[in-house]
Amino acid sequence: MRRVLGYGGAALLAGWILVPIWFVVVGAFSTADSVYTYPLAPWPDWSLESMRFFVTSAGVPQALLSSVVVALITGVLTLLLAAPAGYALARFVFPGASAYRLTVLATRAFPVVVLSIPLAVFFLQWGIYDSVWGVAFMHTALALPFVVLMVAGVFAGVPVDIEEAAQIFGCSRFGAFRRAVVPNAAPGLAAAGTFAVLLSYNEVFAASILTLQEPTLPVFVLTGLTQAPLPFRYAGALFLLAPAFLFILLIRRRLVGVGGPTLR
C-alpha cells in the first residue's frame, strides 16, 4: 500500500516535470498550422521544418562554441577560486566563517541585471567586453557563492585522517592536499564544477548584456525567440534543452552526491 502510494506520488511529480517538456517536443515537431489550431494535438505530426531551421542556422555553430568555451572557463575558474575557500570552511573553525558563508550567498541578492550594467563598463575598459572572457568572469561570479558551499561539503566528506597520514609520510600541507585530498574529493569537485557549467549554459541576461557579436547559444537562440512565431519558439526551446538534458543525464548522480551546500 505504501509502495503504491510512493510510486503514485513519484509518478505524479515526474509527470508534472515531464508533461510540459512533452508539450515543447510536440510543438517543435508540429507544423505551424497545428500549433495554431485549438484544441492542440497531444502528438506531434513530425514536421521537421522548425527544427531544421535551428540546426542549419548560420549563427548556431559559432554561438555553440562560445557557450562551450564560456562554460568551460566558468567551470574551471569557479573551482580554482572555490576550492581553497571550501577547504578552509571544511577544515578550520575560525571567527568569520559563518559570516563568510552568508555574505557570499547574499551577494546573489543583488539583481544580475542591475549589476551587469556597471560591469559592462568595466569590461569595455579592460577590453573584454563582447568576449568569452567577460561573460565567463560574470558567470563565475554568479556561480561562485553556490560552488564554494558545495565544495565545502565535498571537503568535509574527505576524512582528515588521510590528509594527516599523507603529512606524516612526508607530504607538505599543500602536498597532502594535492595527493591525498584532491583525489578523494575529485568526484565531488567535478560535480561542483559541473554545476557552474550548467549555470553558465542557462544564463541569458548577463550574457546578453555583455555580448554583441559573441553571443552564447542561449542568448543567440532565446533572445531572438521571445519575438519569434510560436513554432520557432518550441523548436528553439527544444534545441536548447536537448544538450542540457543530455548533460544532466551524464552528471545527475554527481550533482546530488556532493552533500549539497550547507550553512551552519
Binding site: R91, A97, T107, T226
Partner: protein, 288 residues
C-alpha cells in the same frame, strides 16, 4: 565541521578565502557600489534621493512590493514541500531512483526565459492547459487564466511555473542533507513506533534543519531576482520589484531608477534572509 589537523597558522583559513573574496569584490561589490551611486544620483547627476523618491511615488511601486512578497510567501512552502517529496523519493526505497533523480533535475537545464516561454504556451487561452481540461471535460470552453483582473489566478500561474523551474536546486541541496542523516536514526524511529509522518516530523525534519535553512536562504535570495517568468505570464499588468528594475533599464532607460530598485531588492532580500535565520536558528547540539 571537523576540527582540524595539526595546528594551522591562524591566518591560513583567511588566506584561503582571499581569492574568492577578492574575486567577488571585483565582480560583485564594486559594480554594486557603482549601482548604489547611481541610485543616489538623479538623471542629471546630482546627489540626492530623487531617484529613490521617484521610485516610491510611482503608482506601480507598492503593488510591486506586495506582489514580490506574496509570491515569496506562497512559493517558499510549496517549493520546500515539493523539494522534500522529491528528495525523499530520490533517497528512498523505490526502484528506479536514477530515473526519478534525472527527471527531478531536468528543470536545471531550463533557463528562466525558456521556462517563461514554455509556461506561457501552457496557460495561454488557447494553450495546453485548456486543451487538456477541455479534453477531459472539466471545462466546456477555454478559460482565460492569464487574466490580470484575477490577480490571484495570475499569481497562481507564476507560482506553478516558478515551482517547476527552480525546485531542482532545492532538491540538490536537500538530497545532500538527507544523505548525511545516518540511517540508524531512521531505523530507530521505525523501531520506536514512529509512523511515516511521525518519522518525518519528529526525526527527519529536525535533523534536516540546517539543510532546510540553507535551502530557504538560497531560495529567498534568488526569489527576488526572478522576472522573466513574471513578465511572460503577468505581462505588463503584474509587477514585482525585479520586473520593475528590469523595465527601468529596458523601457525607460533610466539606470538610476533601476539601481534604486536594485537597492530595494537587496535590502528586502537581506531582511528576508534575516527572518529565515531568526525563524530557524542554528542550534549546535549536534556534535558527535
Amino acid at each position: 565541521m571537523s576540527v582540524s589537523s595539526p595546528r594551522p597558522s591562524a591566518a591560513l583559513p583567511y588566506l584561503l578565502l582571499l581569492p574568492s573574496v577578492a574575486y567577488l569584490v571585483i565582480f560583485f561589490a564594486s559594480p554594486m557600489v557603482q549601482a548604489f551611486g547611481l541610485a543616489f544620483t538623479s538623471t542629471t547627476g546630482e546627489w540626492g534621493l530623487t531617484s529613490l523618491s521617484a521610485m516610491v511615488s510611482d503608482d506601480r511601486f507598492w503593488p510591486a512590493v506586495w506582489t514580490t512578497l506574496i509570491l515569496l510567501v506562497v512559493l517558499l512552502p510549496i517549493q520546500l514541500a515539493l523539494a522534500l517529496a522529491m528528495s525523499m523519493i530520490i533517497t528512498g526505497r523505490l526502484r528506479g531512483r536514477g530515473f526519478w533523480l534525472y527527471v527531478f533535475l531536468l528543470p536545471l537545464g531550463v533557463s528562466e526565459l525558456g521556462a517563461g516561454i514554455l509556461w506561457y504556451s501552457i496557460f495561454v487561452e488557447q494553450g495546453w492547459l485548456n486543451t487538456v481540461l477541455q479534453g477531459v471535460g472539466l471545462i466546456d470552453r477555454p478559460v482565460i487564466w492569464l487574466d490580470y483582473r484575477e490577480p490571484w489566478r495570475v499569481i497562481g500561474t507564476i507560482v506553478v511555473a516558478e515551482a517547476w523551474r527552480s525546485t531542482s536546486l532545492l532538491v540538490i541541496i536537500l538530497v545532500g542533507g538527507l544523505r548525511q542523516i545516518p540511517k540508524d536514526y531512521l531505523e530507530a524511529a521505525d523501531v520506536f513506533h514512529a509512523g511515516p509522518w511521525q518519522r518525518m516530523r519528529h526525526v527527519v525534519l529536525p535533523l534536516l534543519r540546517p539543510t532546510i535553512r540553507t535551502a530557504m536562504i538560497v531560495r529567498v535570495v534568488l526569489a527576488f531576482e526572478v522576472f522573466a517568468t513574471v513578465i511572460a505570464l503577468g505581462g505588463t499588468a503584474t509587477d514585482t520589484l525585479a520586473t520593475q528594475a528590469n523595465r527601468a533599464y529596458t523601457e525607460f532607460q533610466d539606470a538610476h531608477l533601476a539601481s534604486a530598485y536594485g537597492l530595494v531588492i537587496l535590502v528586502v532580500s537581506l531582511v528576508a534572509v534575516g527572518l529565515v535565520l531568526a525563524a530557524l536558528p542554528a542550534r549546535r547540539e549536534r556534535g558527535e
